[in-house]
């Protein structure tokens, strides 16, 4: 996760996301991107060692136990 990127570096983020925007949108999304990083920073970055819930088909009547 990259924080405090410059707006020129942000152009690369826009390109990777496939977004084509005008100058005003670019400026607003740059601010939004920085805000998003503050939310993402609250997610733990450790890897998930425990089993995750299956989201594929379950046997009818099966109970999901965490």
């Amino acid at each position: 996760m990259t924080k405090d990127i410059t707006i020129e570096e942000f152009d690369g983020v826009l390109a990777r996301a496939g977004l084509v925007v005008d100058a005003a949108e670019r400026a607003r999304l740059y601010e939004g991107y920085k805000g998003l990083q503050t939310l993402l920073a609250r997610l733990p970055q450790d890897s998930a060692m425990e089993a995750e819930l299956a989201t594929v088909a379950l046997v009818p009547g099966a109970k999901v136990v965490r």
Partner: protein
């Protein structure tokens, strides 16, 4: 004597059944009220006057013929305009769907129709339940009936304004991060976000599949229970629908609540909310203590974690839904919606999966904390203060300000109920939020009803 347009569902149903009033009179009162106020409120996208009159005449005939369907029979209601209505345009308050006429009703619309409710209007929303309040859309934003210079909250903005001002007796809203409870709190009405899986979302335009909830907005908790009775039930065609027994919600209101334990999540709001809000939340706790609940503080996970988790999920899923049309016709969206949803393009698959994992951890931690503290129902603020002026609402990314106090219960899927706690010195309503364990919507409604009974009628109507 209460004006017809301000009768609650329970009051109107009793009068309908006794013949004291007809559905046609209720519908005319609703249409008159719309004509009188909606030039200011902008709550209505599509008025269904002729259809409503025809349905009211049919309802009157059925009731006279002793074929009363129940308490919603002949009652005028509205739907947030993301609910599909067969043969009636469903715009999502967006140019993109300005001509969209669904072939089928949403499941919840069909259930309310079967119960005899009469749709008088499709109601304003933030664009696709996310982009607002905006001035660059085909319809103006709804306004707050307590002061039209202030926002009504969103995204079920028209539903909140319409119910508060008596344009209809009840309305359906949707809630992904607080979109039922925010306008309910800011407009001084009742909003229920039921347990995730309790109500079908089929036929409601999605914002975030794993956090979207349908729910009723009413003027009393009792009316919310009456709406829930018609709405709740398994829908095999909504993958999130849960095949759980449907309780008798109205009967639950009569259950004793004494001895239930109420946990106040003061750490979520006490520092950031204004003094009036904190005092009013304390007042709700006092009223419930008076009703026999045991009241204590409870520590839950940090509200900022719920907010971050829920917001990341919404952004990712909303972008997934709108990506093709955003790429093909971005100009058809309003600026707020376009900018907000595009942030989802910056959420990686790993980020999304991490958010889903955190969501499960937060849910487990919340329920464990409630069990440890032996708490049955939570109480917290709904917002940090009353409705802000429109001039302060024109922010592209409002969700990077304070964490939404409503978001935790979208993340956990717990049922959450907003009630009016009182009024600010400026005369604007302030809401309080109660939340219960999953699928204990009936207990939550019982506690909400106990609060309203203890509080009494606030004796105020919007000045409009």
């Amino acid at each position: 004597m209460t004006a017809l347009h301000y009768l609650t569902i329970a009051e109107a149903a009793a009068k309908l059944r006794s013949g004291e009033v007809t559905s046609s009179e209720l519908v005319e009162a609703s249409l008159d009220r719309i004509a009188e106020t909606d030039g200011t409120l902008n709550a209505v996208i599509t008025l269904l006057a002729d259809e409503a009159r025809a349905m009211a005449a049919q309802a009157d005939g059925e009731i006279a013929d002793k074929r009363w369907r129940g308490p919603l029979h002949g009652i005028p209601i509205g739907h947030k305009d993301i609910y599909s209505t067969a043969g009636v345009r469903t715009t999502c308050h967006s140019r993109l769907l300005a001509e969209n006429v669904p072939a089928e009703d949403a499941e919840t619309v069909a259930r309310l129709k079967a119960a005899g409710a009469i749709v008088v209007a499709k109601l304003a929303t933030h664009e696709f339940a996310f982009g607002g309040p905006s001035y660059d859309l085909a319809w103006p934003p709804a306004r707050n009936p307590w002061n039209p210079e202030h926002v009504p909250g969103g995204s079920s903005s028209g539903s909140g304004a319409a119910v508060a001002a008596g344009l209809c007796a009840a309305a359906m809203g949707s809630d992904t991060g607080g979109s039922i409870r925010s306008p309910a709190g800011l407009c001084g009405i009742v909003g229920l976000k039921p347990s995730y899986g309790r109500l079908s979302r089929r036929g409601i335009y999605p914002l975030s599949w794993t956090q979207d909830h349908a729910g009723p907005m009413t003027r009393t908790v009792e009316d919310g229970a009456l709406m829930m009775q018609a709405l709740a039930g398994y829908d095999a065609l909504d993958p999130a629908s849960v095949d759980a027994p449907v309780p008798d919600f109205a009967a639950a209101l009569k259950r004793p609540v004494a001895g239930l334990r109420l946990g106040i999540t003061r750490s979520w709001y006490a520092e950031a909310a204004d003094a009036e809000t904190c005092a009013l939340i304390d007042g709700v706790a006092d009223a419930l203590r008076g009703a026999g609940l045991e009241v204590r503080d409870i520590d839950l996970p940090d509200v900022r974690d719920f907010h971050a988790c829920g917001r990341i999920v919404i952004l990712a899923e909303a972008y997934g839904i709108h990506r093709p049309t955003l790429a093909a016709a971005p100009e058809k969206y309003g600026q707020f919606f376009r900018d907000r949803v595009r942030l989802g393009a910056f959420v990686s698959a790993a980020d999304y999966l991490a958010a889903l994992r955190v969501r499960r951890q937060l849910t487990d931690a919340t329920l464990a904390a409630m069990a440890k503290a032996r708490v049955d129902v939570l109480l917290t603020a709904n917002q940090y203060g009353p409705a802000e002026p429109f001039a302060d609402s024109q922010t592209t990314f409002p969700f990077f300000k304070k964490p939404y106090l409503t978001m935790p219960f979208n993340v956990t899927g717990m049922p959450a109920l907003t009630v009016c706690a009182g009024f600010s010195a400026s005369g604007l309503p302030i809401g309080a939020q109660l939340a219960g364990r999953p699928f204990e919507d009936d207990t939550l409604l019982a506690v909400g009803h106990a609060y309203e009974t203890a509080r009494g009628d606030l004796g105020r109507r919007p000045p409009i």
